[in-house]
């Protein structure tokens, strides 16, 4: 339910970048979203459809690249993607980790004409 504001921010960035580049039309927007964020691509698409009307991004396709969880073991620095909810290090068995990846939410690139 928090995708409305996110979609608004997304569209603001897209419009700004398009204006800077003197672009007439944005065809594709590639978005990177980590699985640990609570953001649902379907909801972003839903809001984007109506919000982008009469903008440079009207009709643009949203492509989502989902990033998995990446953890770094605090004891031995091994970086790993955990299996389900078992976040213990596969190398040394430590259960203290830092989250390296999985919380991303950014616009990577756009295809424009």
């Amino acid at each position: 339910m928090h995708e409305y504001g996110i979609t608004e921010s997304l569209l603001n960035i897209v419009e700004q970048k398009a204006a800077e580049a003197g672009v007439e039309r944005v065809a594709v927007i590639r978005i990177v979203v980590g699985v640990l964020t609570g953001f649902a691509p379907d909801s972003i698409e839903f809001y984007f459809g109506s919000m982008s009307q009469n903008t440079v991004a009207e009709g643009a396709t949203l492509e989502f690249e989902e990033l998995q969880v990446q953890l770094r073991c605090r004891a031995c620095s091994t970086v790993f993607t955990p299996r389900a909810r078992d976040w213990t290090c596969p190398d040394c068995g430590s259960s203290e980790v830092d989250i390296e990846g999985g919380r991303e939410l950014y616009i990577k690139e756009m295809e424009v004409s």
Binding site: G5, N12, T37, I107, E109, M110, V112
Partner: protein
């Protein structure tokens, strides 16, 4: 067709407003805590107990976030030095407070006369973890009837917490809540966070929490 590299965080706008909120608070020597929890964990009861133990020597304003009602704000009205209610039903985001809403609320509070702002977020363990508000500390309340597996299901909010309150500790004999299992799950990604085991019904454990909170306020 050509490509434009963007690589811009979509939450940048919210983060910028959060930083501006923090600057506003700093200018008024006012601290802020963001209290997050699931619905029913005891956020409002916890805030009422906290107000009772901090005042009158510490002046406290409360920002109440709720989807529709003013029930919580009414409860807090007489217990705080100032209260602002935000009903998120009319906002783009209804499941969490975002920095813009706190910005609007701060403008309605007499910040010069306050030492601390307690922000009661919307009851939810997922959405509030995405939005910085400009707070100094993030406080998460978990209550024992919710079960000890919540840090496994909602890791982000527990990872970012600066203090974790285990509320309804008086119910431990009646519910399946393994305190050590809970703490151990949290420590996986947040090894140094302090835990406070409290009962807002009986007042148990609140003194330790208040001691910690007062320490955080020093230097503000």
């Amino acid at each position: 067709m050509r490509k434009i590299e963007v690589v811009q965080n979509i939450l940048d706008a919210n983060n910028a407003t959060a930083e501006s909120n923090r600057a506003t608070l700093d200018n008024h020597n006012c601290a802020a805590i963001n209290v997050m929890a699931a619905p029913g964990a005891g956020k409002t009861s916890f805030i009422l107990r906290t107000l009772d133990l901090l005042r009158p020597d510490i002046k406290v304003g409360v920002i109440e976030g709720d989807v529709a009602s003013t029930v919580d704000a009414e409860k807090v009205q007489n217990a705080a030095d100032a209260v602002v209610q935000i009903n998120t039903r009319y906002m783009p985001e209804s499941c969490a407070l975002v920095a813009d809403m706190v910005d609007a609320a701060l403008k309605k509070l007499p910040l010069d006369q306050l030492d601390l702002i307690i922000i009661e977020n919307v009851g939810n363990l997922i959405c509030p973890s995405e939005f910085n508000l400009g707070e100094d500390r993030k406080i998460v309340i978990a209550s024992t009837p919710e079960g000890d597996d919540k840090p496994l299901k909602y890791p982000m909010i527990f990872t970012d917490a600066d203090a974790i309150i285990i509320n309804k500790i008086d119910l431990v004999p009646y519910v399946d809540f393994d305190i050590e299992a809970f703490k151990s799950s949290v420590r996986t990604t947040n090894p140094t966070v302090p835990f406070f085991e409290v009962s807002c019904k009986t007042g148990t454990g609140m003194a330790e929490w208040i001691q910690w909170l007062r320490k955080q306020l020093q230097g503000k």
